[in-house]
Each structure stands twice: as structure tokens, then as C-alpha cells.
């Protein structure tokens, strides 16, 4: 290959689709390193503290698309203090200086200030795509800046962010000349938007394919929007309540009928059963359906709807669908690939809405199922074994039994065997979340069989250090390990310190790891950041020198070439 001119090598590298492949070729020789870095268009940084932004930008000056992730996953469940870190500003600043051609920025679990968004909007004349997932720290003012200055914006995708509402005017900041929008998602916005501005914006963007409205948008506005944009492919409704006897309802149905390209529906806030028939006309074409924000739609109505959705590939529902509803899904949705069943009654013991029966039914009826998130009240080993047999092709399997540490209710045994069957059968399993009563045995199975496993989430499980060691020893592709409330201590942590350099990160909270153990780890592995998060109650005395035997409440370990970070708040100690 050294006889080829660099342009040819670059052309060959164009065919490398994955980050891993491109990273690999860059290590072959100096020439390839240079060719690769100068032609690299897209970079993915899984942990924003693993590398300095300046370094990334210096190496890849022609970067067009940057993805950065910040907080650990358990931040989604309020286990990480809000100001732990993960600031977007350094990245935007570095990119503004070094990659003026940046077109796409995707951030997940990061803190994004309005100033950062403004800097972003002004710094990149070709900026096209902004995706913010589970971020916080910004407001509608920041969005206004994006709308105002990003002249060729194609995608503004806000998913599950915590953002402050400072008024509806941001939407009106899109200039009349903005006609390039392809995707607009502001479903997580809590405040009002100006309906007229919205309709006008939709009307002048002929390429709009994805539109996800927020709860404040009325069904009336929705109806008008559908009339203007019948070419939509992905729709998130706003508040979905309408008097089914009114003229407006029939108009809505007619407008839905005109949307022949509609393939995905979500939203449905405040939806009541009588409004659902409005979408019946398009059900037959749907590949994606998210009804998980509509707790008033109960089993029978869900069933009526789902019976018509034979092409469904992705379904998100609440557990009021019941085992019976899942049986209908199993009978109807033969193309189903992803299923998520969320809990609707979180605090009460509640009626057992879905159990192992529903899962078994779906596993047996849906041959293409590869991704599962399932909240249920109980699970049995027998069911899991059956599921494992029916669906050996799972890549993502997340099971959450709502009662922590609950055993198999039929046999009273731990669920080791069930999960063992899953990992043994599903050879392509990349992500796994465990729950229920589990002993070290399940980790033995995971270590033995889960060869492709990349992410493992453990809660209230295991008996001893051995459990964690089995996983660390066995899962050679493990990238992220997150553990809470499990009896793993220093011995497990220090068993194989080199392992953590092969992983992106390790999170342990409410386990048995001590400060001394963390210090030892930090001392042995200079290229890991060992962070101890100590949130003190006001009643606690501030310990100047806590003993090494002190149990650490939250610990986050990650590999890095950037050294200890300089933006850590007081309660985060990098050892």
C-alpha cells in the first residue's frame, strides 16, 4: 500500500464504516496515521474526560461530526450529583478554534449552557445538526440563538433534556429564509410555543420528515400541521385530547389519512381511548409506536390499536398493556425488533400488570426481537429459559423486576439460571441489565458465556467479591460496568487492575469498596482517573482525613489520557 499515492489510500479509508476500523488503520504506520487523521470526518468520544478537546481537534482538523458523552449512565436515575461535570463548553470552544467546518454535534448527558449554544451557533457557518440527549443547563434562549444563526440547520433534536423555559419566542427566531429543516424535535420542552410560528415554519420546510411536538401543542395545531406536511415520516403528537364528536375530530382523521408516509408515532400525552381511533387509518404502515406517555390508555384499547399495527418494528408501551396485550403483540407484530415496557405504577405494589407470561409470549411470537427493556413485577427462571431458547438473537436485554432482589416466585430460587440461559443462548448480547435475587452464580455464567457483552448493569445482586471477579475475568469485550448496592469490595476491585484500561468506565455505588481500595487502584494505574464522589449531608462533619477503611459511597473509574480533570467540584476527589 505504500506505493499508492495518499489520495488513493484516503479513498480506500472512505470505505471504512466504523470508528474502530478507522482507529485501527491509523496505528499501522505514520503515513496511514496522517492520511487517516486528515480525512477523518466523524469522531465519537465516549467519555468527555478520556481525552482533552484540544487534542481531538488538533488531530482531526477536518472534523465535520462530533459526538461526546458526559455523565455516567446512572446519572439518569439521579445517582450522580448534577454538577458532577461533563461540560460542553470546552468542546465547543476547541472546535470553534480548530474545526470551523463542523457541521454536526451530538451531546449526551452533558451540561450545556446558553453561552455554549450561542458560541456554537456563531462559530460554524455550515452547522447542520444539533442533537442533545439528556442534557441540562440551557434554556429556550440558547435555542433562540441556534435558530437565529444557523442558516442551514437541518436537525434540531432535543431528547429528554432538562431545559428552562424562557418563553415561546425561540421558535419565531427561525428566519423566513430557513427552509432546510428536516428534523425538529422539541418534545421535552415544557413551555408553550407559538402555534402560528410553528405552522409557518412547517409550511416553509418542504423537506421536513421528523416532527415531534411537546405537550403544550394542541391537537388543533397538530391537525393544521398535518394538513401542511403530509409527507412527515416521524410524528410526535402534542397533547392528544379531542372531543370525538366534534368536527375537528373528523378533520384530524382526514389529515392523518393524507399522511401516507407516516411510519412512526409518539407523544400521545393525555390521550384518552376515544381519541385513538383517529390514528387507525395509518396504523397499518407504522414501524414505530411509542405510547409510553399515555397512562389513560389501558389494555383493551391498546389491544385494539396494536391489532392493526402488523408492521411494527419498535414498540414502547406502559405495563398496563398487560400480559394479554403482549400476547396480542406476539400474534400481530411479527416484525417486532425492539420492545420497551415501562412501569405505570411505580410506588404502589399495584396490580401485577405484566409478568413473565407476557415476555414469554412475545419471545415466542416475535422472531425478530433483538432489543428488550422490560419492567415487571415478577420473573421466573423457567420463563427466562424459554425466552432464551426462543430468542437467541438478543443484542440488548434489560430486565427490571420492580422489587429489588426478588426471587423466582414459583420456586423461590434466585434468577441465576434464567439469566444464565440468556447469556448462554444469546451469543451476540452486547448489553445486559440484571435484576431480581441473584447470587455469584449468575456472574459466573456471565463471565463464561457473555463474550460479546459490552455493557453490564448490576443492582442488588451477588454474594461476594467472586461475582465481580468472574465478570472482570470473563467478559473480554466489556466496556462499561455499572454496579449499585452489591457486596463487592476492594478485593474484587483490585483483582485485575489492568482490566480497567480495556474498558471505558466502571461505576460502583453503595458497594463495599473502601477509600483505601480506591487509593490503591489510583496508585497502581496512573492512566485511570479514580473519582470518589462524596456528597456530605449537612449533618455530617466534614472529615479532614477520612480513614482508608471508610466505605466509599460512589466511585467512578475511567481510563484517560487527559490526566485528572480540572473542573471537578469539591465533592469529587480524583485520587
Amino acid at each position: 500500500m505504500t506505493y499508492f499515492p495518499e489520495e488513493v489510500v484516503e479513498r480506500i479509508f472512505d470505505f471504512l464504516a466504523t470508528h474502530r476500523d478507522r482507529n485501527a488503520v491509523s496505528t499501522v504506520c505514520k503515513t496511514w496515521y496522517r492520511v487517516e487523521r486528515l480525512s477523518r470526518r466523524s469522531v465519537f468520544v465516549g467519555n468527555c474526560y478520556a481525552v482533552r478537546p484540544e487534542r481531538v481537534v488538533a488531530r482531526y482538523p477536518r472534523l465535520r461530526s462530533l459526538t461526546v458523552k458526559g455523565k455516567p449512565h446512572f446519572a439518569d436515575f439521579n445517582l450522580v450529583p448534577h454538577d458532577w461535570g461533563g461540560f460542553a463548553l470546552p468542546w465547543i470552544e476547541a472546535a470553534a478554534r480548530g474545526c470551523p467546518g463542523l457541521e454536526e454535534l451530538r451531546l449526551k448527558r452533558m451540561i450545556v449552557f446558553d453561552e455554549s449554544l450561542e458560541l456554537l451557533a456563531r462559530s460554524f457557518p455550515n452547522f447542520k445538526v444539533l442533537v442533545l440527549i439528556s442534557c441540562e443547563g440551557f434554556s429556550t434562549d440558547g435555542l433562540a440563538a441556534i435558530a437565529t444563526y444557523c442558516r442551514v440547520l437541518r436537525e434540531l433534536d432535543l431528547q429528554e433534556n432538562e431545559m428552562e423555559d424562557r418563553g415561546p419566542q425561540w421558535l419565531s427566531c427561525f428566519p423566513d429564509s430557513c427552509t432546510s429543516l428536516v428534523s425538529l424535535n422539541f418534545a421535552c420542552l415544557k413551555g408553550e410555543v407559538n402555534a402560528v410560528s410553528l405552522e409557518r415554519l412547517v409550511a416553509r420546510c418542504p423537506n421536513l420528515r421528523t416532527l415531534r411536538l411537546n405537550r403544550a401543542v394542541s391537537v388543533d395545531t397538530l391537525s393544521k400541521i398535518l394538513a401542511r406536511a403530509p409527507h412527515l415520516v416521524d410524528l410526535g403528537t402534542g397533547s392528544f385530547t379531542i372531543d370525538h364528536r366534534a368536527e375537528a375530530y373528523h378533520k384530524l382523521i382526514n389529515n392523518f389519512i393524507k399522511c401516507k408516509s407516516l411510519r412512526s408515532l409518539s407523544g400521545f400525552w393525555d390521550a384518552t381511548p376515544r381519541c385513538l381511533p383517529a390514528v387507525y387509518p395509518i396504523c397499518g404502515n407504522l414501524t414505530g409506536l411509542n405510547l409510553s406517555y399515555a397512562p389513560a390508555i389501558q389494555g383493551a384499547d391498546l389491544i385494539k390499536l396494536i391489532r392493526q399495527c402488523s408492521k411494527l418494528q419498535r414498540l414502547w408501551v406502559l405495563d398496563c398493556i398487560g400480559d394479554k396485550g403482549l400476547a396480542v403483540v406476539a400474534n400481530t407484530c411479527k416484525e417486532l425488533q425492539e420492545l420497551r415496557v415501562f412501569p405505570s405504577d411505580v410506588y404502589g405494589e399495584g396490580i401485577a400488570a405484566v409478568t413473565e407470561e407476557g415476555l414469554v409470549a412475545v419471545s415466542s411470537g416475535c422472531p425478530k426481537l433483538i432489543s428488550l427493556l422490560y419492567f415487571c413485577h415478577q420473573m421466573t427462571n423457567a420463563a427466562l429459559i424459554t425466552v432464551a431458547k426462543n430468542c437467541p438473537q438478543f443484542t440488548r436485554f434489560r430486565l427490571c423486576i420492580l422489587d429489588p432482589g426478588k426471587p423466582d416466585p414459583v420456586t423461590n430460587q434466585p434468577l441465576d439460571e434464567g439469566f444464565g440461559a440468556i447469556v448462554q443462548s444469546c451469543k451476540d448480547l452486547r448489553r445486559l441489565s440484571l435484576s431480581g435475587h441473584l447470587t455469584d452464580q449468575v456472574f459466573l455464567y456471565i463471565g463464561m458465556y457473555a463474550e460479546r457483552l459490552e455493557m453490564l448493569s448490576i443492582a442488588f445482586a451477588g454474594d461476594s467479591d467472586k461475582g465481580m471477579v468472574y465478570v472482570l475475568n470473563g467478559c473480554k469485550n466489556l466496556r462499561k460496568l455499572e454496579i449499585r448496592d452489591s457486596p463487592f469490595g476492594d478485593a474484587a476491585l483490585l483483582e485485575d487492575v489492568g482490566k480497567y484500561e480495556t474498558m471505558r468506565s466502571l461505576w460502583m455505588s453503595s458497594c463495599d469498596v473502601t477509600l483505601g481500595g480506591c487509593k490503591t487502584l489510583a496508585a497502581k494505574m496512573p492512566r485511570l482517573n479514580v473519582e470518589v464522589i462524596n456528597e456530605m449531608d449537612e449533618s455530617d462533619e466534614l472529615e479532614e482525613n477520612p480513614s482508608d477503611l471508610h466505605r466509599v459511597e460512589k466511585m467512578y473509574v475511567y481510563r484517560t489520557v487527559a490526566g485528572p480533570r480540572n473542573d471537578a467540584p469539591d465533592f469529587v476527589w480524583t485520587l
Binding site: F77, N78, A383, I385, P404
Partner: protein, 344 residues
């Protein structure tokens, strides 16, 4: 080997682990229906596999040949530190889950054991391990266990460590745990914050409970032998098999009487004189209740749990019991039920 495994002292729980009420097995499950049904009946098929054979799907393939769709065996289980070189030593009469449990005990307390496979065979065959199994076992030991683990401490596992270690590992859901269940904050309050905003229009919350809505009703057709007009019954209105026959009786009593005595059809004065339809479920009555399930098969009402029946029943039929002997119900094993042939 057998002795190793069966040492009473080291495996104190072996015999205790088999609950009396469990039907733990030893049957070849053939044509036992779908996995679903088998779970209900708690049949476990256990097979002994040979150490050294790794390919679980291949073994499963063999299972299919024996039409054992309902098998619950877990395939090969390589366990470090078990003495199961001779798989049969596990004992054929052991529930699958039980055995693995007991092996766990052994596992923790014995240091220098070879890994073995844990596929148990119901038939109680004595399979002697193949010699090539050993080399594989040792490589498996290296692979699976890691040296540090295999010779680790003999700390007895605290089986209820989950409870002991962490107060938050309670088995009841009464105390809310931080960050549990693992859902985002906006999902937690979904049920309470969501309310239909059309209260004024209907003079009340528009819920799915109103019958005219058909919201929660599950109406299935029901026909009765000899009566040309069918009815509909709402299965969701009942929560058990007790009330269904009464409802059927109510639906058809009048019609039946009218059939038999057309002259009295209009006579509503003496409802007590109409003969009641009884014995629908126990085989003793003049009529028997059957249903058609989602596969179109005719089934006797009462065999499966109520909830499952409701989910499966597509239509009901009230047959004359004398017809049963001639019908295809026989093929489904209805003969196992004790019935007196009713004379019409």
C-alpha cells in the same frame, strides 16, 4: 466421584432442595404443548450431556427431534470446582435447578475440583465421561475460572448476603430506594400528572370504563345448540369460572324455554318455571360449555386458569353433552374427564 459429590457434610442441602409438591420430572416430554403450558405444569426435562461437548444449540437441535419444545434444560453448564466429572453422579432424580444450587455449594467449598458439565438426564443413564473430555475440561477451567479464582478463599457464601450487606436490599417494595426503579424522573409521575382535559364535555373523566365505549369489555359470541339466535357475553365482567355459567343460564334460559314451548314464549309471568341450564362445567348437565380459542380449536371451558381462558377464548358454545362423545373433543383428551353421558 459420586461420593465426592454426594458427601452429605459438604452438601447439606442436597436432599432438602427438592420440595415435595414439585413434579420434578423424569418424563420425556413429548407433545407436551408449548413452553407456556409446560411452565404451567412444571415439567422439567433433564438431559445428561457429555463433558466436552460445548455446542448448546446443537444439543438443542437434538432436542427438537424428540419434539421436546417444552424442555427446560439449560444446556451445558460448565462449573468450576464441581466434582461432576461423571454427570450421572448428579443423580437422575434431581430437579435441574436444585442440582445447580447444590453444585454451587460444592463449588464454594471445594477447592481442587475439575470443572464438569451439568446437563442432567432424566433417564438415569450412566454416562461415563469420554476421555477427550478431560483435556477440554482443563482448558475450560483455565478459561472460565482464572487461576486466582479457582484457588480463592473458601469463604462460605452467605446465601442471604443480599439481605445482610445492604439495608436497601429489602425484599419488600415498601421503602423507596434512591434511583429505583431505574427510570427517568419524568416517567415517575406520569400517571398522576396525566389527566384527560375533556372533563367538562362529558361531565366526568373520560375513562375507559364506560360500557358503551366497549373500553374494558371483552364480548364474545355465544351460541347454544338448538337455538338459532346467538348472544354475546362480556368475559371481563367476571373474574372466575363461578359466575360464567350463571350468566350463560341467564342469557339462554328464556330462549330455551321458548324453543321448547313456543306457546309460552310470551309468558313472562313465571320465570321460575323455565328450567335452568346447569352443570355446564362439570360434565353432569344436559349441556356443556366449550370455547373456540385463537387457533380455532374447540376446548372445554374450565381447563386453564381463568385469566388465560379470557385471553384465549374467541367464542363460546353451549353444546349438548351427548354431542361431546361424537365430536372432535375426544382427540384432545376430553376422555380423561369423568363424564356421565347425559341423555337428552
Amino acid at each position: 466421584m459420586e461420593e465426592d459429590f454426594r458427601k452429605g457434610e459438604e452438601c447439606p442441602h442436597l436432599l432438602d432442595l427438592i420440595p415435595n409438591e414439585r413434579d420434578w420430572m423424569v418424563k420425556e416430554v413429548g407433545g407436551g404443548g408449548k413452553g407456556f403450558g409446560v411452565i404451567e405444569e412444571k415439567k422439567l426435562e433433564l438431559r445428561l450431556g457429555l463433558p466436552g461437548s460445548e455446542d448448546w444449540p446443537a444439543v438443542m437441535g437434538k432436542q427438537e427431534e424428540h419434539s421436546v419444545e417444552s424442555a427446560l434444560s439449560l444446556g451445558h453448564y460448565k462449573l468450576c470446582k464441581t466434582s461432576g466429572i461423571n454427570p450421572s453422579s448428579v443423580g437422575a432424580k434431581r430437579g435441574f435447578f436444585d442440582t445447580v444450587e447444590s453444585k454451587t455449594e460444592v463449588f464454594q467449598q471445594q477447592q481442587q475440583q475439575h470443572p464438569g458439565f451439568l446437563q442432567l438426564q432424566a433417564k438415569g443413564k450412566d454416562l461415563s465421561p469420554k476421555t477427550n473430555g478431560r483435556a477440554e475440561q482443563q482448558s475450560l477451567e483455565r478459561k472460565a475460572c482464572g487461576s486466582s479464582v479457582a484457588h480463592g478463599s473458601a469463604a462460605a457464601p452467605s446465601r442471604n448476603a443480599a439481605g445482610a450487606n445492604n439495608s436497601s436490599q429489602t425484599r419488600t417494595a415498601t421503602t423507596p430506594v434512591v434511583g429505583w426503579p431505574p427510570i427517568r424522573s419524568f416517567r415517575r409521575n406520569l400517571a398522576s400528572t396525566s389527566k384527560p382535559s375533556l372533563e367538562s364535555e362529558n361531565g366526568g373523566l373520560e375513562t375507559a370504563i364506560k360500557p358503551e365505549n366497549g373500553g374494558k369489555g371483552l364480548f364474545v359470541k355465544i351460541n347454544m345448540d338448538g337455538i338459532p339466535i346467538g348472544r354475546k357475553v362480556d368475559l371481563k365482567a367476571y373474574d372466575s369460572y363461578e359466575k360464567l355459567p350463571l350468566a350463560v343460564n341467564e342469557l339462554f334460559q328464556g330462549l330455551l324455554a321458548a324453543q321448547r314451548d313456543p306457546l309460552a314464549a310470551g309468558n313472562q309471568k313465571n320465570p321460575e318455571e323455565k328450567p335452568a341450564i346447569t352443570g355446564l362445567l362439570d360434565g353432569n348437565g344436559e349441556y356443556t360449555l366449550v370455547y373456540e380459542d385463537d387457533e380455532g380449536d374447540k376446548m372445554l371451558v374450565g381447563d386453564v386458569p381463568w385469566d388465560m381462558f379470557v385471553s384465549m377464548a374467541k367464542r363460546l358454545r353451549v353444546l349438548k353433552s351427548s354431542e361431546l362423545s361424537a365430536s372432535s373433543l375426544l382427540q384432545l383428551g376430553a376422555v380423561t374427564r369423568k363424564r356421565t353421558a347425559a341423555e337428552c
